[in-house]
């Protein structure tokens, strides 16, 4: 599945706009992000492993905090969207 890296966070991926990963659950998605893009992961997750309050991670349009533990399966080809807070106006 494809993870799109939003512009404000691309400094952390050496300019990469997107990357691929293989995962069957949300937890695996997060694990793969940590492995493939450790700097990006450092921005996304706080020390306790939770997504920080100024960033959101959506899988197929649903924020992962809203996915019940029993429903954390991820379909092949799911779209992972990272939404950072931006203030530009």
């Amino acid at each position: 599945m494809t993870v799109r890296v939003p512009a404000p966070l691309r400094e952390l991926t050496g300019g990469r706009e997107q990357f691929q990963l293989e995962a069957r659950t949300v937890d695996e998605v997060l694990e793969q992000i940590r492995r493939i893009e450790p700097l990006l992961a450092g921005r996304l997750f706080s020390d306790d492993g939770n997504v920080r309050g100024f960033i959101n991670v959506f899988v197929d349009g649903t924020e992962i905090r809203h996915l019940e533990s029993g429903r954390r399966g991820v379909r092949p080809g799911a779209v992972v969207t990272i939404v950072p807070s931006v203030a530009g106006g």
Partner: protein, 393 residues
Amino acid sequence: MNENEREPVALTPEETLRYHRQIILPQVGPQGQDRMKSASILLVGAGGLGSPAALYLAAAGVGRLGVVDGDVVELSNLQRQVLHDTPSVGRSKTESAHRRIARINPDVQVEEYPVRLNSDNALGILEGWDVVVDGSDNFPTRYLVNDACVLLGIPFVYGAVFRFEGQASVFASPGGPCYRCLFRDPPPPDAVPSCAEAGVLGVLPGLVGTIQATEAIKLVLGIGDPLVGRLLLVDTLPMEFREVELRRDPGCVVCGDFPSITSLIDYEEFCGGATAPLAAPLERPQVAEIDVEELRARLGSGRAPVILDVRENHEWSISNLGPYGARLVPLGRLQEVLSELDPEEDLVIYCRTGHRSAIAVKQLASVGFDRALNLRGGINEWARKIDPSLPTY
């Protein structure tokens, strides 16, 4: 017969002519147009987002438009802030907005608020408006607008832009989520790049601001499906529009079931003093550093390090350490030149203020460059302390 046509409405013949193209829309009709005429919309920020929103809302015949902005028009605004024009440079943005709106549609009543919104004035300014359009350019104002709108029960149309990407939604509408439900915490203040530094495609706020105007009109008319509970993501390079689902957070501190914020707080403090326009919340990685005095001493000592500048081309043309052998390698291309660098050699990396270079040093350290140092304060610090002939920016 359309139900909108049943009641007599107070449109003049001239208004009927001016708004004919939208009056003939069944979803609008003369009654919808009359509703527009009695509606009031407040624009927070008359910048990139507020500009197109103001133009379209004025043209559409919104009866009363408020404009809050404490800035004056600057030349560098005109690339995207289409509400203002070259002769307006140096004037207050609210005055410039007022003049332009009056020329587009003299029937629109304009209220100018030439101030920066703060906790003391926000409730007084926002109270009584039907809809607020948030086109501000900094986090403290965004949280302030959110909290004030939630407390006052006014829906607000959110929009934000960065480089080629934008976001839009409708917050604080009854039962819907608020900005804090999406972004619980503000990003850390020590963050780059700012929008002024990172840039923004001029058309992008035009696109997002026009979406905001569309949503504001839908809210006023009560038509269609507003962007409540949905965040629209616009990416102009691939030209993709995506949508993600938002939910009201029952634990939200301001709109939740047991809110802890029941009056406005100090938003500068809440955002850690992040008064500058910010995007890209990034803390600076902890890396080995060198300060500008030490670098100067090393340059004259025969132990001169190799210097890398990880900024962009145009920044190099503003100021650079080329005379000391510095080489320009924009951060995004660092990986490509690794093979040309010697991990045994002393490296000093700099950027504008030391943030991007800290990321570069961290990236280099992760592939074995243990002798890379970050120039603390960047080239701006060098210009301030060592070489005042260089401009800062």
